[in-house]
Amino acid sequence: MIPSALKSREAILAGAILVLVAAIASRFPAFVAPGNLANVFNDTAPLIILALGQMVVILTRCIDLSVAANLALTGMVVAMLNTLMPGLPVPVILAVAISLGALMGLVNGLLVWRLDIPPIVVTLGTMTIYRGIIFVISGGEWINAHEMSDAFKAFPREVALGLPVLSWIAVLVVLGFVVLIGRTPLGRAFFAVGGNPHAAVYTGINVGQTQCAAYVISGALAGLTGYLWVARYAVAYVDIAGGFELEVVAACVIGGISIAGGIGSVAGALLGALFLGIVKNALPVINISPFWQLAISGSAIIIAVAFNATSSRAKGRVILKKAEHAT
């Protein structure tokens, strides 16, 4: 008998990632050098952070398409703040970024909770609004590296214990989600709301409030990533991370998080993000034009969702057969 843990989605996805990495390594051993793998992880860190935030939103049967716009707006605001007040310490900037992101998440959440507007409509709207506000506050100008203070730019790149701070933040967020999802009432509530909203109401869970909380978490993480992104690439402009929301949703879907809500895991979101990150970083190494990346991630989404659907359907068939035998 194979232990059920090995048959899980996460195990299969982890296996697929290992096969992928092994295949690349057989031709290009330099790819699996620890230093390069650390680079790949660091490069994927923003996607991991956002995918985890998106995961809780999707768990509650919602979707947050405004994360990339939220990221870009927060990034622009902190960058402007930095040019106005270069002496502002990094912890303050972090606090501003997280609270601003959370505030934008709250706007999404309140519209979904209080006004009962479908989540996809809300976040489609706020996505264009947030993106537009960046243009309004910046006047379409870029904020370049020389306008940012050194401390502002250095924070995500500072190396501690062999990894940059950006990677450590991703690790912390992953650990935080393991606790949140597995060990707190709120984590349970996300699954309850997504699995069966009516039953959740009868168990005393406020469905709208839980969805709102998910949006605030997603927004706060988008804000945090906004600062890290702008500081890491040392540039802020209107279109940063354009279309990134779809990559985030893709990471969740590949990670086996059901768009119908209620099914998903931290490991799944993490692996889904890592899969996309590895593909993205491997393409230049194996000499494939980066133009292939979009088509590859698209195919990966379709294969992942088809795979998830067929695996859950197979279970249903087995039960039916048993029932037939019983009669």
Binding site: R61, C62, I63, L111, V112, L115, D116, I117, P118, P119, I120, V121, V122, L124, G125, T126, M127, T128, I129, R131, G132, I133, F135, V136, G140, P197, H198, V201, V207, G208, Q211, V238, L246, V249, A250, V253, I259, A260, S289, F291, W292, Q293, L294, A295, I296, S297, G298, S299, A300, I301, I302, V305, A306, A309, T310, R313
Partner: protein, 338 residues
Amino acid sequence: MSTTAAETGPTGRQLPDRLKSPLQRFLGSWELLLLVVAAGVFVLNSFASPYFLDPWNLSDATFNFTEKAMIAFAMALLIISGEIDLSVASIIALTSTAMGFAVQLGADTPMLILVGLGVGLACGAFNGLLVTGFGLPSIVVTIGTMSLFRGISYIVLGDKAYTGYPSDFAFFGQGYVWWVISFEFVLFAFLALLFAVILHQTNFGRAVYVIGNNPVGALFSGIRVARVKFALFLLTGLMSGVAAICLTSRLGATRPSIAFGWELEVVTMVVLGGVSILGGSGSIPGVVIAAFVMGMVTFGFGLLNVPGIVMSIFIGLLLIGVIALPRIVRQVLAKRKV
């Protein structure tokens, strides 16, 4: 989400003694509200800029929405049936790339039209097969094919562009039928009528509503749910192909980033037109008026030199505002009664 409706229970529902008259229904309708908004935008625009009421300017303005609206008609049917297609803009990119490729092989204009419609249909069939054949959620499938279709364009084109379309091909996007009436506008009007008839006058249209309201009930009442949905994906693909022909003809060039972000504008147009994103209700006249509103807003702001991205704030606010306002009013009224 939809839980609150269930919580109120059957006691909240009352059957009226008699149905409202058509006039009463029209006065309380979404379409009238939109019409008022459209008229308001039109009047504001004509006060704001002296160039707005120029017939040629107005004719130019229609290009802001005709192509998107063609897709929006098919998308409206799809959303009413409870599905969605986010890959429409990418279908345009792939179709346009295929047409550009055909030009390189020496295709003439009729051949280009065939290629355009064919690729659009094929993309729609692919989406439809994945959704109805494999029973996958359409939002995820089409997020996937959105990357896939545009990704193929990027693989084929990279950072290059296809140009050199035959000169008679330009008619579809740049030609005028009579005075200021462009070919695209005539096509838009024809398709609006066609889709209004399909949705509101045929059995197929009835089936679309039934499926959107209750797919299981539809199945038990003898509607071939999967087949209807597949047909709707085909139709959306086909209309994206038509839009791709018009857009390619108008621009005269194909880049892989063509029509980027249009899927959101098309969905916005449909939702603004009063189609419930949850499926089951909506109308083609609503979508037509929404198309005019969005086109006029974009054009009016353009005349005032407002940058495109600021217009998008307004479109976003419009989308949330028109849906939020009636709900806020209803909530306030409900509180007052208690």
